[in-house]
């Protein structure tokens, strides 16, 4: 059974890494600014999902798995131990929440910038936006 787990997880990780690579290519080498924005959102989404997969500690202790929410309002020590066994790691989720919010701000700024650039240069093709050189 463990082999199937590892295999499927590897597939997940691998496709996310491929996503990262493709979107990295998109941000760096695609000439259209809008395409760059789209690639950038995909890139940060993939980074976030990497963090979440790492926080999903399924392979560390196979068995039950639950969101990191403690249901019992007055937990005993055993409750907490049991909780720590089944819960996913909450820290990456907190990190991802922060990253999503920051990414939103950056994307909005980039959209505004692209709009302004289109107003001045009449294009969103980066090969033609090259007044500053040398």
């Amino acid at each position: 059974m463990i082999d199937v787990f590892t295999f499927l997880f590897t597939i997940c990780m691998l496709s996310i890494v491929v996503n990262l690579g493709i979107s990295l290519y998109g941000v760096l080498y695609k000439p259209s600014l809008i395409k760059k924005i789209i690639s950038l959102t995909i890139f940060s989404d993939s980074a976030n999902i990497t963090a979440i997969i790492i926080g999903y500690v399924r392979w560390r202790n196979p068995g039950e798995i639950a969101p990191p929410v403690l249901l019992n309002p007055n937990p005993t020590l055993e409750d907490i131990e049991e909780f720590a066994k089944v819960a996913v790691d909450p820290l990456p989720q907190a990190l991802v929440l922060t990253a999503i919010v920051i990414g939103l701000a950056v994307t909005l700024f980039l959209v505004f910038l692209t709009l302004q650039i289109y107003r001045f240069y009449g294009t969103t093709d980066v090969r033609r936006i090259a007044k500053l050189k040398g």
């Binding site: 996503n19 995909i42 976030n48 294009t123």
Partner: protein
């Protein structure tokens, strides 16, 4: 006998693979509107993966931002600028 968790994991792997296809299409597609749609598909798949990975709180934030807000803003941007990517 197949465990339920293996099925969940299998579904997740399937989603991840299809998200790769969606990403590839989004990057290579010439028409920007279609590219946005592909990236929305990819975001939806990611949201489902988040759900399977026991992160419902992320889903709650991620879906409005990445599936709703980003495509809307970028579509607005496309409407004001260019619809096609140049060669």
């Amino acid at each position: 006998m197949v465990e339920a968790s293996v099925i969940v994991l299998g579904i997740m792997a399937l989603f991840a693979l299809s998200s790769t296809i969606a990403t590839y299409l989004a990057i290579t597609e010439r028409s920007l509107v279609k590219a946005v749609l592909y990236s929305a598909v990819q975001s939806t798949l990611y949201a489902l993966i988040y759900y399977l990975l026991m992160a419902p709180d992320i889903v709650l934030v991620y879906v409005p931002v990445s599936v709703g807000l980003y495509p809307a803003i970028i579509l607005m941007l496309i409407k004001k600028t260019e619809k096609e990517e140049e060669g």
